[in-house]
Point group: C2
Chain length 351, copies 2
Amino acid sequence: MFSDKLSLPTITDVQTAARRLQGVAHRTPVLTSRTANELMGAEVFFKCENLQRMGAFKFRGAYNAMAALDAAQRQAGVVCFSSGNHAQAVALSGQLLGVATVILMPQDAPPLKLSAVRQYAAGNAALGVTGPSEVILYDRFKDDREAMMEHLARERGLTRIPPYDHFDVVAGQGTAALELLQDVGPLDALYVCLGGGGFLAGSAVVAKGLHPAMAVYGVEPLAGNDAQQSLAAGHVVRIDTPQTIADGAQTQSIGEINFALISKTVDAVRTVTDAALVDAMHFFAERMKMIVEPTGALAWAGALADGASGASGAAAALRGKRIGVMISGGNVDLGTFSRLMAERQQSRDKV
Amino acid sequence: MFSDKLSLPTITDVQTAARRLQGVAHRTPVLTSRTANELMGAEVFFKCENLQRMGAFKFRGAYNAMAALDAAQRQAGVVCFSSGNHAQAVALSGQLLGVATVILMPQDAPPLKLSAVRQYAAGNAALGVTGPSEVILYDRFKDDREAMMEHLARERGLTRIPPYDHFDVVAGQGTAALELLQDVGPLDALYVCLGGGGFLAGSAVVAKGLHPAMAVYGVEPLAGNDAQQSLAAGHVVRIDTPQTIADGAQTQSIGEINFALISKTVDAVRTVTDAALVDAMHFFAERMKMIVEPTGALAWAGALADGASGASGAAAALRGKRIGVMISGGNVDLGTFSRLMAERQQSRDKV
């Protein structure tokens, strides 16, 4: 089913990561909403990683991977690429662990994320850690960020901390679902957003590891359904960079480790439109008083598509059940957030 | 010091309210922010009542007061007036307890609050509870809402559930601070917003009841510093309806019960400008991914004014301490929220 050369994290690795993250990551709250329950005809538990440090679950994986480095690796520093949240996660972890960071970011990354990463990197330099802490911009549609990372790693002896296709990163991401299940007990279904697949893979390892009967669903943007295609094809399918407001899911393919885990543990992958993401963001803002970034709203949009559609088989299967929804992050510029909410209102006023 | 005719709630009454609210109100999360700690040079704990049911702490007091009614009172129904959050709280509590509600709201109340109250009231009627569940609008600057309420109470035999000057309402509001102290242990100082004074009074009862050395500060809008004036005068001072974006604090005076408790237990009352409220709202949105209404941002704005001002005596007194900040609610229209954030950005771009 998948390459047996790959070393895949298990629930034990997630539990190890949870111990490393104790007192470092926030134990984020699990929130509920009567309106959400009514919409779904089910009991919904939202794990709020938008309230995590640096505003996203990505801190868990990056910190876990960097805390696992040996002394020589820490001394030399690390390199990564990311559209934003992983970049912030690596920069913040570098600051906390005293490790120099080189971070490749797309030049069209959200300004909020760019400035946050630069702030963390500056903090890093102020700590006097060995080597440079710097941010390097690339063109998302032209440059080969992986080749750039390889070059930097070789030239400077840096350890790669990839955003998702990495044993310790995936184990770290799984700690959010572990906390959710510890807090609320067994669930019938879990919805998780999906870009590179690390959050979904880590969450699925936990869900199936603790409660094998639990259904696990990935949700990705309709504009980039590479995971759906990959599961259908039985191997990782690579697509063009998708055009979607879910900037954290603008990945061209899921990771090999993640594909191996997802094809083994995930029940199905759903897709949702950008309009459905904006609706879900509006729900979080108006009903739950939270700011959620477009990627962070994927899981709820996917759950709603399954559960609120009335007569469908998916809705019937969820009725009366206990459902977990992972909110991955909240790092959206307030200007962008306001624009998306205003455009939604305008298009509804027209109808 | 205050009228001994008044019956004042104690920590025991708050504990009774906490038992009534168990499983009905959300136990809202206590969140922290590294940036907040850095700004204050202290450890800050935010009690997030914007994440409470119907988006504000007001649910606690209203539900507690209505759950304490006898069978005949429940049968006859209740009446209240409110600029919004208390109205939603009474309407929702009526729905949960099967009690008819008549709610007086200012015609310029935020549209989000008006529509939410109407939805709860409609749900009430659908439950087939005795008597009408209705919303009556009044002119905040012309009508005498208290006289209107008295008239309705007499004519229809309704029990008054005032928004703040009420034994059981104050006891219910205190449960939020009780949860905060249960969750994080003793604090050195607590900041609480202040309109009619019920939230501050209830919180202070808890703080001084559990930890007498804890400092308690009220924070009200500079445009309406009636509580500050009242403490200075030694009696309740009544002012014109203040013009401030903090619609929940557009009260003309604090309640008699609240004045008695506040003058006995609160160390000082601070005032902040509307601009400081917008800055605090921006902090919550950008750094903590939460939507907080202007009134809900009062306590943090007041704490920042004390703590972030560097050399002042207040800042020195807070340095290295453990500080609680009560966020009272998140019920702000998204359009208003976006406009406030955009205007703030524009005025900063000009500088």
